[in-house]
Amino acid sequence: MAIVSMTVNGKPVTADIDPRTLLTQFLREHLRLTGTHVGCDTSQCGACVVHMNGAAVKACTVLALQADGADVLTIEGLAQGSELHPMQAAFREHHGLQCGYCTPGMIMTAVDMANRLGPDLSEETIRSELEGNICRCTGYHNIVRAVEAGARAMAGQPMREAAE
């Protein structure tokens, strides 16, 4: 067993874990933060994306011990109380989700994308940046709209009216 400490969604946590515990398992099973999903176990689908020290990582291929001392943000920590993060609101406004399973990873990836690339994301950029996130429901059409609008909203720009 091994001791791991990190900050998750602003709260310090410490646990004694099996060293092979993945970050997804730590979040889901130890902290019961089940919003981070597992879709493939091979870093392909992106359902498990969280932010570690401000950058998007696929938590299914990070050992919890690798996150020792890190600042981890999951989908549960994105909203400010009852106020949705602009990217969350954009996914709802533009119908960027259906079954909701890939959605936490999509949103965390999209927030990271906007943080890195700014508010004016072209469709080509968004589609290229979503390479590591698979959605089986939406055909990506509305996810692209949501990410575009969410990135603008994160910069304080008004969200476009409605999904096309």
């Binding site: 099996d18 092979r20 889901r28 099973e29 019961r32 933060l33 089940t34 919003g35 981070t36 999903h37 597992v38 879709g39 493939c40 176990d41 091979t42 392909q44 689908c45 359902a47 999951t74 989908i75 549960e76 994105l78 909203a79 949705l84 969350q88 996914f91 709802r92 406004e93 119908h95 989700l97 259906q98 079954c99 909701g100 399973y101 890939c102 959605t103 936490p104 949103i107 469709e123 968004i126 589609r127 290229s128 979503l130 390479e131 996130n133 698979i134 959605c135 089986r136 429901c137 939406t138 055909g139 990506y140 059409h141 509305n142 996810i143 692209v144 409605a162 999904a163």
Partner: protein
């Protein structure tokens, strides 16, 4: 229409929990004291099991129990079932071999279930599963669809030629006569590639047993929890139906693959009693590739006959359908009654004859996947139509229009009676949106850059609203396919709707609430949709085959009508008027011709306090249920147009434009409906360009991860251009036809027709990967290739 009523693009109620990480999927649940299961799976496609040695594994840390097929047999647990009886053309019933949840004596595909290890943690279960020693005697395997019939290897002794059935539909003599007098016959050999459904949430199950009550609970990733309960109790024999509760909480996509009753959930719920603790299993992605039911996998020879006026006069097909190693829950119906009755497409074809051989192979079971039989039929029809037009030198759109059915109702020669439609309207609208007129210019522009551009059409039709119970019963279904609903009005006027439909991405919590809001004039915020729990909803047939709107919402509509009727009786007492004078309008019960009225919520309260009618015939309360059994299938139809550009040097195909115009009848929420179309198109494009399950000669699944099985990603697809036409369905009270499968049905032939248009020849099979397209380009240009 109110702001949240029928036709409004209401933002989804369920989204709040999904975008904040508060969804509750099966694997998110942790039951007190739960153990974890890992399955020992066959590494061989076909082998006899000589022995299973669990002694070393049993001594591993944390192991609670190891169970095998012998334990299942000792407990008299029955095998998994196929619920649709198909008879061969000679009248004999299909030849089905047994399907035990854990292998008994033999394994029949890679991934087949041999034993289950139950341990304190998942990691311990998995470690121990790897040390279970199984002594296999490998047998020759049959893998290829086209070679299964009469192969040396026999999958089940019950079907010595590996033939489950030799089925047919249609008038053979009339069809042969049509071909005999044809001016032109088009012949195509078509492979409909095998697909793996891949919802991003893998399957999962938690079985639980309460020794105090003797009751079982199964949490599972199901599209139809009541059907799961029925099968697990009445056929498999886990527990009596009233002692088994099945809960399908949030489910992360299904696409058909979560309709079926699988070995894993059967084992979890059975084992829960044996170990006296909850037993949880969650599939990993490789297990999902190996053991989820696959889709499609047809090999077809198809012919179309046309007369001297370019009218289609006959169509015949011979299809071999791979059913895999066992008959999954509805597998037998997919290449038969969900396939051949759609071979008339949108066309007036007087004679059709279809023969289908269903075969066993040493591969994963094959069952319904988004569209289920209808994509296979549409691919056959739309490839034949396109190629026929090309061979006749006719414009493919004009050839289609000439042969469209124009008068309704229309009885096809293959069972279906199309109720309504306007196919030319969809075609014209799609051609306009797709700017077909500008295609020539775009093609020349592509050519200047050394690229090949092509355009392809697909005029699809599907039979949805599954299904009239008497009709499917006559065709061999073991169930009726109605739907149930219960509308419970609370004393405060808020409402719970209990539905037998199940939402796993379709947005029922919003669209169903919209219906209630529209009919009862209440806010959608006061309406809660309850589904997915057999203890709450009395019964239901679940969600598949685009049935939740046409069938599920029709049941809700019936129940709402009963609530209004009861409300009128209550209002009559409360308003001291006669029942016949009460009208319900804009959410108020009114005395006709007066200004006296009560709001819906006020009548709800009156119904429960019963002060005004106590001692009368009227019962207190306001709760009504209904079962709705459709009188016909519904027939969504439309035209999709795909425009591709091919790089002849790399074989890469880019979809430049994709236009879909669909007639879904009445649309409840256009935002959600368009989303369904988008997703369907993506799966259809996936089938056409990239997806394909590949087994090697020994039966190993080569495509068992996302590195090997290419899923459509955002960069593979364009934005879609969506349009709608509408001819309301006459057979259900809402005029709904269904929209869930359209894209997956329509897209593959549109894409392949576009690619073959660009290539100038028909020699390409799905998936049209860059390698396949590059080879096809070389074939098209022998002179250039030789240079």
């Amino acid at each position: 229409m109110t702001g949240t009523g029928i036709g409004a693009p209401v933002r989804r109620k369920e989204d709040q929990r999904f975008i904040t990480g508060q969804g509750r999927y099966t694997d998110d649940l942790a039951r007190p004291g739960q153990t974890h299961a890992a399955f020992v799976r066959s590494p061989h496609a076909h082998a006899r099991i000589r022995s299973i040695d669990t002694s070393a594994a049993s001594a591993m840390p944390g192991v609670v129990a190891i169970l095998t097929g012998d334990d299942l047999a000792a407990d008299k647990i029955g095998g998994l079932i196929c619920g649709w009886m198909i008879h061969s053309k000679d009248g004999t019933p299909m030849k089905a071999g047994p399907h035990p949840a854990l292998a008994q004596g033999k394994v029949r595909y890679v991934g087949d279930h041999v034993a289950v290890v139950i341990a304190e943690t998942f990691a311990q279960a998995r470690d121990a599963a790897e040390t279970v020693e199984v002594d296999y005697e490998p047998l020759a395997a049959v893998v290829e669809t086209a070679k299964a019939k009469g192969a040396g290897a026999v999958v089940h002794d019950e079907a010595p030629d590996n033939l489950v059935y030799e089925w047919h539909l249609g008038d053979k003599d009339a069809t042969e006569a049509a071909f005999a007098r044809a001016k032109h016959v088009t012949r195509l050999d078509i492979t409909n590639n095998r697909l793996i459904p891949n919802p991003i949430e893998t399957r999962a199950a938690i079985g639980e047993y309460d020794a105090g009550t003797g009751g079982y609970t199964l949490y599972t990733t199901s599209q139809n929890p009541h059907v799961a309960r029925l099968v697990l109790s009445a056929f498999i024999g886990i527990a009596p139906e009233h002692q088994l509760r099945v809960i399908a909480p949030d489910v992360g996509g299904g696409f058909g693959s979560k309709i079926f009753i699988y070995a894993e959930e059967t084992v979890c719920v059975w084992a829960a009693k044996k170990v006296g603790r909850p037993v949880k299993w969650t599939s990993d992605r490789t297990e999902a590739f190996l053991a989820d039911a696959h889709g499609r996998d047809h090999v077809t020879h198809a012919e179309m006959a046309v007369d001297e006026n370019a009218r289609i006069i006959g169509l015949r097909v011979h299809t071999t359908a791979n059913l895999g190693a066992y008959l999954s829950t509805f597998s037998s119906s997919v290449p038969t009654y969900l396939y051949a009755p759609l071979l008339s497409g949108q066309y007036d074809i007087p004679a059709i004859y279809a023969e289908v051989d269903g075969v066993y192979t040493n591969t994963a079971p094959v069952d319904a996947y988004r569209g289920a039989g209808r994509p296979e039929a549409t691919f056959v029809v739309e490839r034949l139509v396109e190629v026929t037009a090309r061979q006749l030198g006719m414009d493919p759109a004009k050839f289609r229009k000439k042969n469209y059915i124009k008068r309704f109702p229309h009885q096809t020669p293959v069972i279906m009676n199309y109720d309504v439609g306007d196919y030319a309207a969809s075609l014209e609208k799609a051609m306009e949106i797709a700017d077909v007129k500008g295609f020539g210019r775009r093609k020349r522009e592509s050519a200047k850059r050394g690229k090949l551009r092509g355009i392809g059409y697909s005029s699809y039709i599907e039979a949805c609203g599954i299904a009239p119970s008497a009709a499917v019963g006559a065709l061999g279904a073991g169930v009726g396919l109605w739907e149930s609903a219960e509308v419970r009005v609370n004393p405060t006027g808020s409402i719970e709707v209990l539905t037998g439909s199940h939402s796993h991405g379709q947005g029922h919590e919003t669209t169903f609430a919209q219906l209630v809001s529209d009919r009862l004039g209440v806010s959608i915020d006061t309406v809660n949709i309850v589904h997915g729990d057999t203890d709450k909803v009395q019964f239901g047939m679940g969600t598949y085959g685009s049935r939740s709107g046409a069938v599920g919402m029709s049941a809700i509509t019936k129940a709402i009508d009963k609530v209004i009727a009861k409300g009128k009786k209550v209002a009559a007492y409360a308003l001291e008027a006669s029942e016949g004078d009460i009208e319900f309008e804009d959410g108020r019960f009114k005395v006709a011709g007066t200004d006296r009225s009560l709001a819906f919520g006020e009548v709800a309260l009156q119904a429960y306090v019963a002060h005004k009618f106590s001692g009368q015939d009227l019962e207190p309360g306001l709760k009504e249920g209904a079962f709705y059994d459709p009188t016909n299938f519904t027939f969504p139809a439309g035209v999709h147009i795909c425009e591709v550009e091919i790089d002849p040097d790399t074989g890469v195909t880019r979809i430049e434009r994709f236009t879909a115009v669909d007639d879904f009848g009445v649309v409840i929420n256009p935002m959600i409906v368009e989303g369904q179309v988008h997703g369907g198109i993506a799966q259809g494009v996936g089938q056409a360009l990239m997806e394909g399950a590949i087994y090697d000669e020994s039966g190993q699944l080569v495509t068992a991860s996302y590195q090997d099985y290419q899923m459509p990603r955002a960069g593979d697809l364009p934005s879609f251009q969506i349009g709608m036409t509408s001819t309301p369905c006459p057979s259900n009270p809402l005029g709904i036809k269904g929209c869930g499968e359209a894209g997956a049905i329509a897209a593959p032939p549109a894409v392949i027709n576009a690619i073959t248009d660009a290539l100038g020849h028909e020699e390409i099979a799905m998936p049209a990967t860059p390698q396949a397209v590059w080879r096809a380009v070389q074939r098209a240009r022998p002179a250039m290739a030789a240079e």
